[in-house]
């Protein structure tokens, strides 16, 4: 028999359906009488609606905020002191704060006709000066996104741990760094089909979402409906990455509309809506000073960081999570004694920013790792040597770092050594001394990070946002034919949970994975869960499934003991069978007996039968810390600015891998997105706050030829607090590539004295850096001081 339990490289159960095009996504749903919705959206970034004129023939087909009586705006408030709350109107109520903001909802038998109606509306709008740059938004004379705030700061956070002790360090390097605003670009965009069931008196919202129970919370709140009157179904979902974690005003609009009109309605997001209107991610700005000794030992980090939060606070993560996280995670995997960090989450006239795969880590890794290289250049050491001086060492584990993050386990220096060991670094250095035959310059770059994943109640209670994870629950249910049904509240949109959770169940109950059915994505069928985010499913849903299956095993033992006429305490459960001294009985027979031949069981059998819902939370739920070292070998064409990745190595530790092949897939996917952040993806804006990339012709994503296969190297340090030693690893792949690739480019360009400090590394930026260095040979480019 093929090994199917934890650790098996099993092919994915869901692939048969997904790879043959038999998946069912929201856009595949056809309900009788369904009509399509298109929205009139704001063409400008900041203004006041004076009037919307509807041609009389469309009076019944157009709805504005005045129609949505009783519908509440979206509010995502954090309890962090000083947080300024915003209200995102479902349809604009007067003031417009971003391009793409919803103004009117138009309904027609087809989307094209709905767009005709939207195009027929006349919008009278008073344009206000817009602020689209987060630094400009801090200026005292900036236009205000929310006037009653008095400024544009959503939240300021601050930490100072002995920074003054670093000031006498002999090495001091300062840089100003920036990461571009991005769009998350799942293959499937958002999509909603809403229908009112008059028999059940229930609203059913089919939505491409990764946290369906959270959508349900938000819908029930904004529409003032009982939770029981709302069912959220997320069928197959084509990628989430955080984008499908937010409650969209469109979901509320369509819910209201189906209740108003009685027939199902649908809205399928198009690419322009995705790129320009709903939410972006990643935009950070840092001014950062690193203090060090001449041997590369870090003495302290002093940072002021800004995150462009856009116009509104998205539900449930809020407008401050990204910025506030910067304070606590900027130190990365390093141990140093002094730290100061001030962060600002800043409101601008742009769409909201959302946590995207890797969340703030991609930005802070970029910031820290560029600084470590800057130190290395300053002290004349190899970048890996500087890192080895400062990485938390294995003998320090578990380690509470300077911001009190509890690093659970691992050997960070070993990951770095393994990444370096995959290259012949002396040969690379030698090669750099010669000119490449094609005139290009090669460069070698590193980045190391650790990633908190599966963080639980305590961490989120601290943020005080509308969504705080508690015990994760799973239901396990043996069926009369000996199959197993698992019901979990997280969702799977690329994470392969139908396979990995079945493997966890197989590990406990021995049921063949082909007979394990994993039910996901329906609030009516699954236990409450905060859903899929924060690299939490393997740990939390995996833990919950294992716990529920263990309960089933206990119950099966009782029944099996009866059938074997043995004492329950004397039997064991092994490979799907209850075994006594004299014989054994399989789980299928036990199930058949419970369901179909109850007369064979005595009266005192456990009344819960073969179905159990069990909650799980690790005893220490401050998070698992997976980590990795990334190393990139690249070539830069200094005449045209192109960057090519020649070789890329990822040495990573995700603890126990439930399915190593699935983990490889997660790393590949994250790495591809990391390359996008590093080299291609950027949402530019003009001075009026207009997003300038509204199609994929202008918003560049890496394609297959831009993502050369990385070499992966797995380490395995078991997580001390999780059931099998597994760690969250879903996001990691995209955290380090921007830093590793930028460091490699800077390594290649060091002969010019050129340094890049803004991602993505476009050909234009490469040429500008070289030109700037040529123009000011004395002054190192990139330095802010």
């Amino acid at each position: 028999m093929v090994e199917q339990g934890i650790g098996a490289r099993l092919t994915r159960k869901e692939d048969d359906r997904l790879m043959r095009g038999r998946g069912q996504y929201v856009a595949d749903i056809r309900l009788a009488g369904m009509q399509d919705v298109a929205f009139l959206r704001s063409p400008i970034a900041h203004g006041r609606i004076r009037n919307v004129t509807v041609p009389p023939q469309y009076n019944d087909a157009v709805f504005t905020s005045a129609d949505l009586v009783g519908v509440k705006p979206i509010r995502a408030v954090s309890s962090l002191p000083g947080f300024k709350a915003s209200e995102q109107p479902v349809l604009a109520t007067g003031k417009i704060r971003q391009v793409g903001e919803l103004i009117a909802m138009c309904v027609a038998p087809t989307r094209a006709e709905a767009e005709d109606i939207a195009a027929s509306l006349t919008l009278d709008i008073e344009e206000l000066p817009a602020v689209h740059d987060m630094l400009a938004a801090r200026a005292p004379d900036s236009p205000l996104v929310h006037e009653h705030w008095g400024d544009n700061v959503v939240l300021e956070t601050f930490a100072d741990i002995d920074i003054a002790k670093a000031f006498d360090a002999p090495i001091k390097v300062t840089r100003e760094l920036r990461t571009a605003r991005q769009a998350m670009c799942p293959m499937e965009g958002r999509a909603v089909v809403a229908a009112w069931d008059s028999r059940l008196e229930q609203l059913t919202v089919h939505t491409a979402a990764q946290m369906p129970h959270i959508n349900r919370n938000g819908l029930s709140e904004c529409l003032s409906l009982d939770q029981a009157a709302v069912r959220v179904i997320s069928p197959d979902v084509g990628g989430g990455f955080g984008y499908k974690g937010i409650l969209l005003p469109e979901e509320i609009c369509l819910s209201w509309l189906t209740m108003k009109r009685g027939h199902p309605v649908r809205w399928i997001e198009d690419r322009r809506e995705h790129l320009t209107a709903s939410a972006n991610c990643r935009e950070h700005h840092y001014v950062i000073t690193a203090y060090a000794d001449r041997d590369g030992t870090l003495r302290g980090i002093d940072c002021e960081a800004h995150v462009d939060s856009g116009a509104y606070s998205s539900y449930p993560f809020s407008a401050c999570l990204e910025a506030a996280q910067v304070v606590s995670i900027l130190p990365g995997p390093y141990d140093f004694p002094a730290y100061r960090c001030r962060t600002f989450a800043v409101a601008t006239n742009k769409c909201p920013i959302l946590p995207y795969r890797g969340v703030a880590r991609t930005g802070v890794c970029f910031a820290m790792e560029l600084m470590l290289d800057a130190i290395a250049r300053e002290v004349g050491m190899e970048p890996y040597e500087v890192r080895l001086k400062n990485l938390v060492r294995p003998e320090q584990m578990p380690f509470d770092n300077i911001t009190k993050k509890h690093f659970d386990s691992g050997d960070y220096p070993q990951a770095l050594r393994r990444a370096i060991g995959a290259f012949d670094l002396p040969a690379i250095r030698e090669r750099q001394r010669r000119v490449e035959p094609d005139g290009r310059l090669i460069g070698f770059g590193l980045a190391v990070y650790c990633e908190q994943g599966s963080h639980g109640t305590a961490v989120y209670a601290g943020w005080g946002v509308p969504m705080i994870p508690g015990h994760e629950q799973a239901t396990a249910r043996l069926t009369p034919d000996g199959g197993l049904e698992l019901r979990v509240g997280v969702h799977s949109h690329g994470q392969s949970l139908e396979t990995t959770l079945a493997q966890v169940a197989h590990e406990i109950l021995g049921v063949d994975v082909s007979k394990v059915r994993v039910v996901l994505g329906d609030t009516a069928l699954t236990p409450y869960s905060t859903g899929t985010w924060g690299s939490r499913c393997a740990v939390m849903a995996g833990g919950a499934v294992a716990s529920a299956c263990r309960e089933i095993a206990e119950r099966a033992k009782q029944i099996g003991a009866k059938l074997l006429q043995a004492d329950a305490a004397s039997v064991t459960f092994r490979d799907g069978r209850v075994v006594s001294a004299s014989g054994d009985v399989g789980i299928a027979d036990i199930a058949r007996t419970w369901y179909l031949r109850p007369q064979d069981l005595p009266g005192d059998v456990h009344r819960g039968g073969l179905e159990a819902t069990v909650g799980y939370k690790p005893p220490v739920d401050s998070g698992t810390f997976s980590y990795a070292a990334h190393a990139a070998l690249i070539a830069v064409d200094p005449e045209i600015g192109d960057v090519e990745i020649l070789d890329y190595v990822i040495a990573e530790d995700g603890g126990k891998l439930i399915n190593p092949m699935v983990v490889d897939g997660q790393i590949y996917g994250g790495y591809a997105q990391g390359i996008g952040t590093a080299l291609y993806e950027e949402m530019p804006f003009d001075s009026a706050g207009q997003p300038l990339a509204s199609t994929f012709a202008d918003y560049l994503l890496p394609g297959p030829t831009e993502v050369p296969a990385p070499r992966l190297d797995h380490m395995e340090t078991l997580a001390p607090y999780t059931l099998f030693g597994q760690k969250g690893i879903g996001e990691g792949g995209c955290i380090a590539p921007p830093a590793a690739i930028t460091n490699a480019v800077n390594d290649a360009l060091k002969g010019f004295g050129a340094e890049l400090s803004v991602s993505p590394i476009t050909p234009r930026r490469v040429l500008e850096a070289i030109a700037a260095a040529a123009a000011n040979p004395a002054e190192r480019a990139g330095a802010a001081a």
Partner: protein, 282 residues
């Protein structure tokens, strides 16, 4: 992102197509491969009453090989050229250019005529066919006229196609065996439009010295006598004497004020010249 309502016609005769285009009180739009028109319709940037699909018209897919020319109907696709389903008179140059356009799905449908008529300065045929010295034959209600490709594309997204006219065929001169050709396209990812193009054709037997700098803000810059780029030399070693300063001056004169922009365009041309010189050695 759905188009506004339109009617669709697919005439089988050239005359019928021209009659549709000449219709009064209706706006029409010609559809070839739809790879550029499709997005324009979906974004509602164009809202014609009638879309006239010309791909069923025999003249539009005709292929004629003459002694010193190849004539290709405007609806011959990039993939037809890439796969060698049509003859080649350019020693493989056109096959290589075709293979570098977009990606396969686009090449299966996108046409040589649609590409020229879209007149995107960054498009490949716009520069490559100008460098090859190709001509277009336009058909209107009153007859045909012939223009060099560089006169057909008059600006960004602008051609000299008259109202009611169709681009019918493209005439490509046959290169001599000793001709040297190189085409360098700089783009950031596979399938992207170019950010800079350099193309050179040196065919001394036919007394042809052409160079093109493409993917500028406007129509490609054509040096019909490229010897100026080689210090005026017209001998075999001329390709080794490329003068980047002259190329730079041409760009300045063409209004390209940004120094880094000029740099990548000059480098693209310089590399094309170097490649052409290398082919000569083989």
């Amino acid at each position: 992102m759905k188009p506004a309502r339109f009617d669709y016609e697919r005439p089988r005769e050239l005359g019928a197509a021209l009659a549709l285009l000449a219709g009064d009180n209706v706006t029409t739009k010609v559809l070839a491969g739809g790879q550029s028109l499709g997005p324009l319709l979906n974004l509602r940037l164009v809202q014609p009453d009638i879309v006239v699909d010309i791909t069923a018209i025999p003249e539009m897919i005709r292929v004629e090989e003459e002694a010193d020319h190849l004539v290709l109907g405007a609806c011959i696709t990039h993939a037809d050229i890439e796969d060698g389903r049509v003859p080649d008179v350019t020693n493989g140059a056109m096959r290589d250019v075709a293979a570098g356009i977009a990606y396969r799905a686009v090449r299966n449908r996108g046409t040589i005529g649609g590409s020229l008529t879209s007149a995107d300065p960054s498009a490949d045929w716009v520069s490559a066919l100008a460098a090859l010295g190709a001509e277009v034959i336009l058909r209107g209600a009153t007859g045909t006229r012939t223009l060099p490709v560089e006169d057909y594309v008059v600006g960004a997204l602008e051609t000299s196609l008259g109202t009611g006219e169709l681009l019918e065929t493209v005439r490509i001169p046959r290169l001599s065996k000793a001709a040297r050709w190189a085409y360098v396209k700089k783009c950031r990812k596979t399938g992207e439009f170019a950010h800079a193009i350099g193309a050179v054709l040196v065919d001394p037997e036919r007394n042809v010295w052409r160079a093109v700098i493409g993917a500028t803000e406007s129509r490609p810059i054509v040096a019909a006598d490229a010897r100026e780029l080689f210090g005026g030399r017209g001998d075999a070693a001329a390709l080794n004497t490329f003068d980047a300063r002259i190329a730079d001056r041409i760009l300045i004169n063409a209004g390209m004020s940004d120094a880094l922009d000029r740099q990548i365009h000059v480098v693209a041309l310089r590399r094309a010249v170097a490649q052409a010189a290398e082919t000569a050695l083989q």
